[in-house]
Symmetry: C2
Subunit: 292 residues, 2 copies
Amino acid sequence: METTVDVPSGLPAAVPTPRPGDPRLARLSLNQATVKRWSLAEAVEGCLRAGVPAIGPWREPVAEMGLAAAARLLRDSGLRVSSYCRAGFLTGTDRAAALDDNRRAIDEAAELGAPSLVMVVGGLQEGDRDLAGARGRVVDALAELVPYAAERGVRLGLEPLHPMFCADRAVLSTLGQALDIAERFASEAVGVVVDSYHVWWDPQVRAQIARAGERIVIYQACDWVLPIPADPLLGRGMVGDGYADVGGLRRAVDAAGYTGDIEVEIFNADVWAADGDAVIATVARRHVQYVV
Amino acid sequence: METTVDVPSGLPAAVPTPRPGDPRLARLSLNQATVKRWSLAEAVEGCLRAGVPAIGPWREPVAEMGLAAAARLLRDSGLRVSSYCRAGFLTGTDRAAALDDNRRAIDEAAELGAPSLVMVVGGLQEGDRDLAGARGRVVDALAELVPYAAERGVRLGLEPLHPMFCADRAVLSTLGQALDIAERFASEAVGVVVDSYHVWWDPQVRAQIARAGERIVIYQACDWVLPIPADPLLGRGMVGDGYADVGGLRRAVDAAGYTGDIEVEIFNADVWAADGDAVIATVARRHVQYVV
């Protein structure tokens, strides 16, 4: 039976669920974090059942399955791998360990056939107010990683996070700033991630998307909803539930020349508590209603 | 007896409390919201006891006391009025009511002898994703208000709020964007508010402060602390408790030519619960420790 309610709201769906093969699903990708309770195998099967043609896996569930098995599963599934989440955290005190971990993530991305590795660059240490210094450390660390990634055919995607996360997760706060860094490197080696949740508020976002052009490695779709929950990391909403113009930003990235996947990534306790197939059905409906 | 612990932490103070007349207090102003439980009269007395030479009153406590009485109290106190908080909210559906309310706030600011009126421009209506439209309504409304304010000698201070508040409180999110709007008007009529809490994360903040120059109507001091509380409005910290480089930004506004007050504005449940004199003593200590 077709799922007919939206999650997490439980309200009747506003549009019918698109069926597998519907051309409006052609660019849709499911970021695995949206169905966090599912294993990689379950997420792949969920995508295949719903006709979602691409998936963005995360490192933890890949490690759970084993890298070789995960790579085989993804290859055999016929799904595109839209991106690989997530590396970065380059601002801490143990630089060598961070670089090692990033090299491992690059190796994994290469083995999985992921075109890009999403980089969340890291925040400030407690009591550190030297934001420029932390930002400089990001550039230095990237300079080490870029040749390694380029040799393996993995493009690094610098992800600006909402400024709400500047202190603790990413000192990269705007698309313009991400491009200032990315442009120090070849476009084939370093690009930017455009995530509607993180950039929707930015008065410069349209201009910076136009500037980004071929630097855009992935467009991630997610809505800004209120209130912000006790854990602000989980404050992301299903597309259409909030304030971000996810469709308008999709048109902007397309106008900049982007033709890649539209990857839905939602960290939200209610979404995670819901049935995975119902979540994917809602994702697909919202995609055709608000984004395509 | 001298207060020797910091609030809200309750930890021993790192520096002695500066005494009234200490030249390092010469530019310090107490924004009244920092001692929210106090009446205007109590806040004025608290400033006088501590040797804080300026105050930034809010509309609600002024209304409680009565405008004429508040104006007399402030004049007789010898305190400078550093700014008047707060008007704006220009993006809603009832434009006429918003303009009326802003005109009243301008009248009040003039009567109080406040050099500037702080403007928080308003957010999006629920379900509205037309951010550019809301930003346009702000400009339109300002065009109506500016002549009225200029005639009364009140400068409007556009305050960019942290992007975390873009949806619900202010579609003005960066200093650069505030300047783009302010520069449509004469510098004597419209300036910008630089609040360390709201702008510290911005990769462009130093450049935009330099650009702002004489447009800076007030520098507000407040720290970004974690975790963000359930009500994100109350997530502001005492200077020195968090990640914002409040002293560095003070030097930047000074380098841009700013010579005005440094107004401490902290919305924080723990600060509000503490004794007002102890709060002011902590504010004064942190000011000499981190800002002067």
